[in-house]
Symmetry: C2
Subunit: 478 residues, 2 copies
């Protein structure tokens, strides 16, 4: 996927020119990409989009068409445009591995490089990473709600935010745990499993529902899933599906599944399951669709529904629902020319953490995630007995116990103008996310009012923040 260098906010380019003219453009800068609240009022986010972001950085350059357009805006000087023509992104990017679970305030991705390079890429990085992380997190929530015995498919292309929104959603949903997508182009592009059933129009194109079912089964004998609700799920669709299931079996095949797309999914799926089982079709899967969300899935299961596959559309493709719609990731200057930087704010939770940082992730004896510590660059692993403070609440601190082991969940992924690691396979990202989610403390996966995973600041980092804040207030007479 090729992304234009003009996929950015105008002010990035006017600031770039300003840095260039002021001689600041090559000063070494560090920006952190972070978010302040978990999406969906949940307990975590699944970090996704890194491969897309790195592909963007790799191919980023200004061609003649882009330079001519910028010239036409009458905002840019010839010397600046000439400098852009040879411009490439050469900075270092350090980021959480894609598929990891991440939390508010953590530096998810850190860009270190010449100020004008790090500035330009803000918009596109946020665009890609906010969206992909939102959808991967939504998928993880749906998969969690569906439980071990059911799976989730991404069915939302028709409600996604544009063609590429659909493709991106299919990719991120897979990382978050969806088993596949209905979007053929997404399957082609990303190598995803693709699946589908048929629509009401198919049934309405035949003289009867039974004729329509038979025609579909004749064409796809080993792979038929029949949609039951064109006329009436229990009175018409189910008996016709049973007839076709029998005919398939006589011919040496098995009906693969039936789909419910309206009505009370808990009630109907239980009734259909019982009828299928009673007729000897225990292997026929029940697929449910129709405005599903993690909360609908949870309620179908709680009320005794018997669904094997949840086809989630709108909410999975758009990351909709309470606390959704967009991840509010931000990209903040944290160091410039070796000095810490931060934006002042009256809201403690919105204070950015200054300086170049690292993250230590602590796991317990059972290899469960216990605690993340945001520390200054170069700080070693947290020691038992050390005190760490809460980034959102300076009044709270906690003491590290002796039983934790520590690792660095971030990697240098781009340096000196190129990627430092081979692109990862989506299946590996999905596996990583699954493993991380399985390792979260009990309650963190809960859909509503989850356990809040602990993220703390090292004493050194907290002190640097407090010192800088005091200095800025003094300097600006506040």
């Amino acid at each position: 996927m090729s992304l234009s260098p003009l996929l950015t906010d105008l002010y990035q380019l006017t600031m770039m020119q300003g840095y260039f003219v002021s001689g600041l453009h090559t000063r070494p800068a560090t920006f952190d990409l972070t978010f302040r609240r978990n999406p969906f009022q949940g307990g975590y986010a699944v970090w996704a989009g890194l491969e897309v972001a790195l592909a963007y950085l790799d191919q980023l350059q200004f061609g003649n068409t882009e330079l001519a357009y910028l010239e036409s805006l009458k905002l840019f000087r010839p010397d600046f445009l000439a400098a852009l023509s040879g411009w490439r992104f050469t900075g270092r990017v350090t980021a959480f591995e894609e598929g990891r679970v991440v939390f508010p305030h953590e530096p998810l991705l850190t860009v270190q490089g010449p100020l004008w390079e790090a500035q330009l890429v803000e918009t596109a990085l946020l665009n890609v990473l906010n969206f992909q992380t939102l959808i991967a997190t939504k998928a993880a929530r749906c998969v969690t709600a569906a439980g071990e015995s059911a799976s989730v498919l991404e069915f939302g292309t028709r409600r996604a935010q544009g063609p590429d929104g659909a493709l991106g959603a299919a990719r991120a949903a897979f990382i978050g745990g969806a088993s596949g997508t209905s979007n053929v182009q997404a399957a082609q592009r990303y190598g995803l499993p693709v699946s589908g059933t048929h629509a009401h129009a198919w049934v309405e194109s035949f003289d009867s529902e039974l004729d329509a079912f038979r025609a579909y089964a004749a064409l796809y004998p080993g792979q038929t899933t029949l949609l039951l609700d064109t006329y009436d799920t229990l009175a018409s669709g189910l008996p016709n599906a049973l007839t076709v299931a029998g005919e398939l079996r006589s011919a040496g095949h098995e009906l693969r599944g039936v789909r419910l797309d309206s009505g009370d999914l808990a009630y109907l799926s239980a009734r259909v399951r019982a009828a299928l089982d009673a007729a000897g079709y225990g292997g026929v899967q029940i697929i449910a669709s129709n405005d599903l969300s993690e909360f609908v899935i949870e309620s179908v299961i709680r009320e005794g529904g018997r669904v094997d596959v949840y086809g989630v559309g709108t909410q999975l493709a758009t990351g909709g629902g309470p606390g959704g719609g967009a991840l509010g990731g931000v990209y903040k200057l944290v160091a410039l020319g070796g000095q810490d930087r931060m934006k002042l704010t009256g809201d403690a939770a919105k204070t950015s953490l200054p300086g170049v940082k690292r993250v230590w992730r602590g796991t317990d004896a059972e290899n469960r995630l216990a605690l993340d510590v945001i520390a200054a660059e170069g700080e070693g692993e947290p020691l038992p007995g050390e005190r760490f403070s809460d980034p959102a609440n300076p009044l709270r601190s906690l003491r590290i116990g002796p039983e934790l082991s520590w690792h660095d969940p971030r990697r240098v992924v781009h340096d000196g103008g190129q990627r430092t690691r081979a692109p990862e396979k989506l299946a590996d990202l999905q596996a990583r996310a699954r493993e991380e989610l399985a390792g979260l403390p009990a309650g963190t996966l809960r859909l509503l009012n989850p356990h809040r995973y602990r993220v703390s600041l090292s004493a050194e980092l907290a002190q640097r923040r407090d010192t800088l804040m005091a200095e800025l207030q003094l300097r600006h007479g506040l």
Copy 2:
């Protein structure tokens, strides 16, 4: 923009093959694209995306790469794949002109053509038109809230759903009334006004806020907008901006604007306005940003805020907010081989309207929109005294008054494999939307609990629906 024929749900392709094998693929079919609820719990939608949809239909064909991928799925027969290699969309498309206001139950776009052609395009048409209409409607709501004396800019690229989601949002937001975008690529692609200010990072890159402001003003003397809240809006940003405004004026320029990006926007904008006016800078605009929505804009104004330009980000780029996130447009088979078709449902509001239809839009003596009537194809304009029924409530009907004049708001936009009209300019679409919105009955524009614009069914259409429903129930023993 080139869109793949594989931008579709798998079942469209398996159904296409089924129609092909069953010999149904060339039967003349009619599908209607409709929605059932206005987005954002509002009183209307602004129809957008038609040009994008037509461009998609124009270039739609299966190349060797796509055919090879389909072959690899082991679902498709060689004769079907061979038929796809010469496949083109040849159907007729009738649609509301882009930029028109539209309402639930109306056939926004009608595809008439061979069944397999009309079936394939469902997913991509819904994808494009659902999203564009959602965003254009959101923009119209924000512009309505901002009122005549303020304008709205689209600032949401960093939170949009992928790169193309950002581009599409900028396009649709402009149609709905936004004055421009911050997205440079969108401005380039669609010829939109592009604008921007600077970020906090700019200020933090200089030794002082005043230095940063001066450097920006020196570079863009006629076009400087200064961001006031890096350290403190009233204590630091405002006095420094006033200093720079004076320096600019001494040099023969005027400061263009200041931007507020945090805090109480109503209070701060009133304070900043008063200070600017008192210092003789009545021409300096105040731009506000920071998680805006139509409701925030309305409350800023209600509380005495003095904002000239609202930069709306996340909610405008994603169509977020109550009742948002996605427009639930559907695409239903309504006729096949000359016979009416519909899907049965227990919910009267979800019943689709069978048959090939037309829309009559009635305006009153002041040229205000009064009533839309959905009629059968070929029905003449509604006559005074005729009774029309409510599509969502069969028990309700109304009688047409004598004072209305009628027009057809839909056009044939694609026929015989090509467009029938030249592409329209975005500025013309924006003007059309503005005019239509201005012509809506009082209260229809209200953000909450709006007046419900009347959409009625002709007696003939209502009777055809009832007859078909009775027949289907009888045939399926319901």
